[in-house]
Amino acid sequence: MTNQELAKVANEVRKGVVTAVHAAKSGHPGGSLGAADIMTYLYFAEMDVDPADPHRADRDRFVLSKGHCAPALYAVLAERGFFGKEELETLRHIGSRLQGHPNMNDTPGVDMSTGSLGQGISAAVGMALAAKHWGDSYRVYTLLGDGECEEGQVWEAAMFAGNHALDNLVAVVDHNGLQIDGTIDEVNSAMPLADKFRAFKWHVIELADGNDMEQVAAAFAEAREVSGAPVAIIAETVKGKGVSFMENQVGWHGKAPNDEQFEQAMAELTAAGEEL
């Protein structure tokens, strides 16, 4: 796939996010939209996964440590063919396989149950350790929020991964600068992230625009070349990316669009898709 084709897929993923959250009447569209490009790249270009065999033992793994961005994960899994796109409208409904936060036993393609912040990265480190221990070749990817990096467990996990030189592990930090109570700076900043990961013996890649598919591709290509250390990609993203009224708005962290807002968002995304 070309980067332009990937960008088109990411745009479809964004439609899926908006559709799912609108249907759920709750959920987290802001971070989901911001991470859509990275997650699309992972599932369509970077990772070796098989929608027909989601549990294949040697598949690459992805852990959505910022589990509240489940709509993006579900939308990308649906685009990739793990289940039908129509299922996205069941998000957060009683009996749905698409829980508010991901559960590996409910949803095909979900590799770890997450949602309680700080815990996903530990599981990802455990997976990477297991691969090293038993000589498996798969790679492990995890996506963290920048707010999530305020959780102490993130750094416990980072310490362990660095000390064990888990170079089959890539942690992407979705750095959009916003969290529920305000900006990262206003709340309790964990910055500078790059220095912290370096201090824990990680190779750090600073991705200036995590919503630009070419830059995303370059970052993951660099990550693949690293040996002897886990890789942290600090990705600058725009929360709410692709829906004008959601972009960089704290208020859209965890709120669903009403019918009118839904129509506007879908119209914007449809127009953007046609331009790609």
Binding site: N105, G115, G118, S122, G126, M127, E156, M159, F160
Partner: protein, 312 residues
């Protein structure tokens, strides 16, 4: 009277891991800087390439174990009960319990018999915390024989297991030919007709001693070793209590949320009878020699005997 062999179940745990490791290589053992105390250090010495130390980071310890278990292998995660069930409760619930992963938590230094370290390390709430997690199996072995058996059973069992081990060397009571361990299956270790004593962990041996003392007064106590707190062997409890009409529970744990409340719940619904609970009575422990502490807090044969007399 012959000298009674005493072994701390934490030692049994470490040795059982070594034996299991001699046979199988599809599991790893993790600890959090307490390998010498939890006895996983024995496994580390025997199988160093299969031992990982998370350092003093129990939250990550549980997450690592969860991640390993997603790959189809077994991870034993060890630390003190206080940190396994207490500090890392939410990691156990959300990263291990919710996805029902094959993690075996080996929690040592449970209860007041930790001794001199005092209240901060005397976890008397872990059974309560762990049994609230859906799908979690909770095992409190009574002695060396049972602790070794439970390690193997937990390894072979599909799903998360919390195993509770002690620091104090306690009598070996299950060293007989026909001993058999089955998760969820309590064991009548003494038959009786006047009262049922349901005990777990080191309190099983104390219950047997209490039963002997009571027998001298013509009181015939049945003693059940309830090594699995969850799932509880409800049928055994109800069947025994139908016969005796009285029940006393005995555990080295808070009377809130542990074996006593588990038994009380079953009997309240199925066969209410007069009951007493022997346990830590909603207080913190304190520093002191383990045996003295157990006596002070009523967690011994004397305490059980008094409870039985008060319920008759």
């Amino acid at each position: 009277m012959a000298e009674v062999k005493k072994v701390a179940t934490r030692v049994s745990y470490g040795e059982a891991l070594v034996e299991l490791g001699n046979e199988r290589d599809d599991f790893v053992v993790l600890d959090a800087d307490l390998a010498a105390a939890t006895q996983t250090g024995k496994f580390k010495a025997a199988h160093p390439e299969r031992f990982y130390d998370a350092g003093i980071a129990e939250s990550n310890l549980m997450g690592l174990a969860a991640g390993i278990a997603t790959t189809g292998r077994v991870a034993f995660a060890s630390t003190f009960a206080m940190f396994a069930a207490g500090r890392a409760y939410e990691q156990v619930r959300n990263s291990i319990g919710y996805p029902h992963l094959n993690v075996k938590i080996g929690a040592t230094h449970a209860g007041i018999s930790v001794g001199e370290d005092g209240a901060t390390h005397q976890c008397c709430e872990d059974i309560a915390l762990m049994r609230t997690i859906p799908g979690m199996t909770v095992i409190v072995p009574a002695d060396d024989v049972e602790a070794r058996a439970c390690v193997r059973a937990a390894y072979e069992f599909e799903g998360p297991v919390y195993m509770r081990f002690g620091r104090l060397a306690t009598p070996v009571i299950n060293d007989r030919e026909d001993y058999e361990f089955k998760i969820g299956r309590g064991v009548v270790v003494r038959e009786g007709s006047d009262v049922t004593i349901v005990a777990c962990g080191l309190m099983v041996a104390e219950a047997l001693a209490a039963a002997e003392a009571l027998a001298a007064d013509g009181i015939d106590a049945e003693v059940i070793n309830m090594h699995t707190i969850k799932p509880l062997d409800e049928r055994l409890v109800v069947a025994s209590v139908r016969k005796t009409g009285r029940v006393v529970t005995a555990e080295e744990h808070s009377i809130i949320g542990g074996l006593g409340e588990a038994v009380a719940s079953v009997l309240a619904e199925q066969h209410p009878v007069p009951m007493r609970r022997v346990g830590v009575r909603d207080v913190y422990g304190e520093s002191g020699p383990a045996v003295d502490l157990l006596h002070k807090y009523g967690l011994d044969a004397d305490g059980i005997e008094a409870a039985v007399r008060s319920v008759l």
